[in-house]
C-alpha cells in the first residue's frame, strides 16, 4: 500500500506521504485553532480600541479603577495585575519545562511541571474572580446624569476621591427594597442603593469640602474637577445613584468600559479555565503512563501551545486594558 501512495512523489514536497511543514497533523490543527482564536481576541481588542477612540476624552483611567490588592487597604494601582501577569508567565515557563522533559521522556519531571502549571493557572483564575468581585462591588459610588454621564466626588482639601458614604446625609424615607415575598411573586424591583439621590444631594450641599469630578480628561491626563459653584449647579442634572458595575451602568465612567471589561477578561478567563481543565486531563494521562506507552509526549506539547497562547493573549489584554 505504501508504495502505491508514494510512487513518483518522493522528490515532491507537496506530493503527499510526508509532512511538508515538519509538524504532525495534530499540531497543525492546534495551530489552526490558535490562529483563529487569535483573530477572535483581536476582534474584541480592536472593538475596545474603536469605542475608546470614539470616547477618547471621557474614557475611564484604568489606574484609578484597578487599585486594589487583596488583604490590603489603600491605593495600589497595577500591582495586583502585574502579579497576575507574572503568575501566568511563570506557569508558562513550567509548561515549557514540562514539554522539554517530555522530549527526554522523563515522566516524573513532566508530572511535577504539569502540576505546577495547573496550580499557577488556578491562582490566576482565582485572582481574576476576585478582581471581578471588586469591580462589581465598586468602591466610591457615583451619580448618573440625565445624559448617562457619571459624576464622581473628590475632596477639595486633599484632592482624593470621596465615597458617597463619607458625606451623604441620612434622611427619613419610606422607600424600602421591594422583594418578591412582599408582592406579586413575579415582580421584583431593582435593589435600592445604600443612599438615595436626595441624601447625596443634601450631603453635597451641606459639606463645602465636596466637589464633583466629571468624566472629561484635561490636558494633564486627569479628570476635570468642578469648582464649588459648578458642583452645586451640576447636581441638578443628577438622576441616579450608581454603585459598582453591571452591564448597563458602572460608577467608573463610560458604560462601555465595564462591558468590555466583562467581555474581554471574561473570555480570557474562560480560556484559562478550560486550559486548566485540559491540563488536568493531560496530567492524569501522564500519571497513568499513556504517553510513556505511546513513546512520545506530543500531547503535552499540544496543550502547551494552547497554554502559551493564553499567556500571549493576556500580555495584550494587560497592555490595552490596564496600561495604555
Amino acid at each position: 500500500m505504501d508504495s502505491t501512495i508514494t510512487t513518483g512523489t518522493e522528490e515532491n514536497v507537496w506530493g503527499g506521504g510526508n509532512q511538508p511543514l515538519g509538524a504532525s497533523y495534530g499540531k497543525l490543527m492546534m495551530w489552526f485553532f490558535l490562529v483563529s482564536d487569535a483573530l477572535t481576541f483581536s476582534g474584541f481588542l480592536a472593538a475596545y480600541g474603536f469605542s475608546r477612540f470614539k470616547f477618547i476624552e471621557t474614557w475611564p483611567i484604568a489606574d484609578e479603577v484597578f487599585t486594589h490588592v487583596p488583604f490590603f487597604h489603600g491605593n495600589y494601582p497595577m500591582y495586583y495585575v502585574a502579579f497576575m501577569t507574572f503568575i501566568l508567565i511563570m506557569s508558562s515557563v513550567t509548561m515549557v519545562l514540562a514539554v522539554d522533559a517530555g522530549h527526554k521522556l522523563q515522566k516524573t519531571k513532566v508530572i511535577w511541571f504539569m502540576f505546577l502549571t495547573i496550580i499557577g493557572g488556578a491562582i490566576f483564575v482565582g485572582s481574576q474572580a476576585w478582581e471581578w468581585a471588586t469591580f462589581i462591588k465598586g468602591d466610591f459610588g457615583a451619580l448618573e446624569t440625565k445624559g448617562g454621564r457619571i459624576l464622581q466626588f473628590v475632596s477639595a482639601d486633599s484632592g482624593e476621591r470621596l465615597a458617597i458614604r463619607d458625606f451623604a446625609e441620612t434622611l427619613p424615607s419610606e422607600r424600602v427594597d421591594h422583594e418578591k415575598k412582599n408582592g406579586i411573586w413575579y415582580y421584583q424591583g431593582e435593589s435600592l442603593p445604600s443612599y438615595s439621590l436626595n441624601e447625596i444631594v443634601e450631603g453635597v450641599k451641606s459639606d463645602s469640602n465636596v466637589l464633583i469630578r466629571t468624566e472629561l480628561i484635561n490636558e494633564d491626563g486627569h479628570k476635570t474637577v468642578l469648582t464649588r459653584d459648578e458642583t452645586l449647579k451640576k447636581l441638578n442634572d443628577a438622576t441616579l445613584v450608581v454603585e459598582g458595575a453591571n452591564l448597563v451602568r458602572n460608577e467608573y465612567g463610560s458604560r462601555l468600559f465595564a462591558d468590555f471589561f466583562f467581555f474581554i477578561t471574561g473570555f480570557h478567563g474562560f480560556h484559562v479555565f478550560s486550559g486548566v481543565i485540559i491540563n488536568c486531563i493531560i496530567f492524569f494521562n501522564v500519571i497513568l503512563g499513556t504517553y510513556e506507552r505511546r513513546g512520545h509526549y506530543e500531547m503535552v506539547e499540544k496543550v502547551g501551545l494552547y497554554w502559551h497562547f493564553v499567556d500571549l493573549v493576556w500580555v495584550f489584554v494587560f497592555t490595552f486594558f490596564y496600561l495604555v
Binding site: L21, G22, A23, S24, K27, W31, L34, V35, A38, L39, S42, G43, A46, A47, G49, F50, S51, R52, F53, K54, I56, E57, D63, P77, M78, Y79, A82, T85, F86, I89, M90, S92, V93, M95, V96, L97, V99, D100, H103, T145, K146, G147, R149, L216, G221, D237, H296, E298, G304, L305, H308, F309, L312, V315, F316, F318, T319, Y322, L323, V324
Partner: protein, 127 residues
Amino acid sequence: MAHEHKLEIFRGLLKFKSNTQKIWGVLIFLTLVTVVEVGLGIAKPEALTHSYFLGMKVLNWIFIILTLVKAYYIAWDFMHLRDEKSSLRRAIVWTPIFLVAYLIFILLFEADYIYHVYTDGFVKWNF
C-alpha cells in the same frame, strides 16, 4: 516534533548551553520587560505623557512596542516557533498580522471620525 533546539536569542548575542537554560533566560527577560512596563505605568514620566507621535502618547507607543517584544519571545521560545520550519512560522505569524493590522486601521479611523461627529456636531451629548 523538532528535537533540535536553536539556543541563541537576541540574534546570537546570547547563547545558552541547554534548552532549559534558555527558558529561564527568556523568563528573566520577560519579567524585566513587565517590571519596566509597570514602573512606567505607575510613574508616568511627564516627558512621555505630553509628547505625541502619530496622535498617540509616546508612553503608549512604548507600552505597545514592549508588548510586541514580549509576544515575540513567548511565541518564538515558549511556543518554539524558532525551531519550526520557516514556512510554518510565516503562515502562522503573517496571516493574523496582516488581518489585524487592516482591522485596526479601519476601526480606529472610523472611531476618530465618530469622535469628531460627536464633538463638532450640533447635538449636545453631555447633559
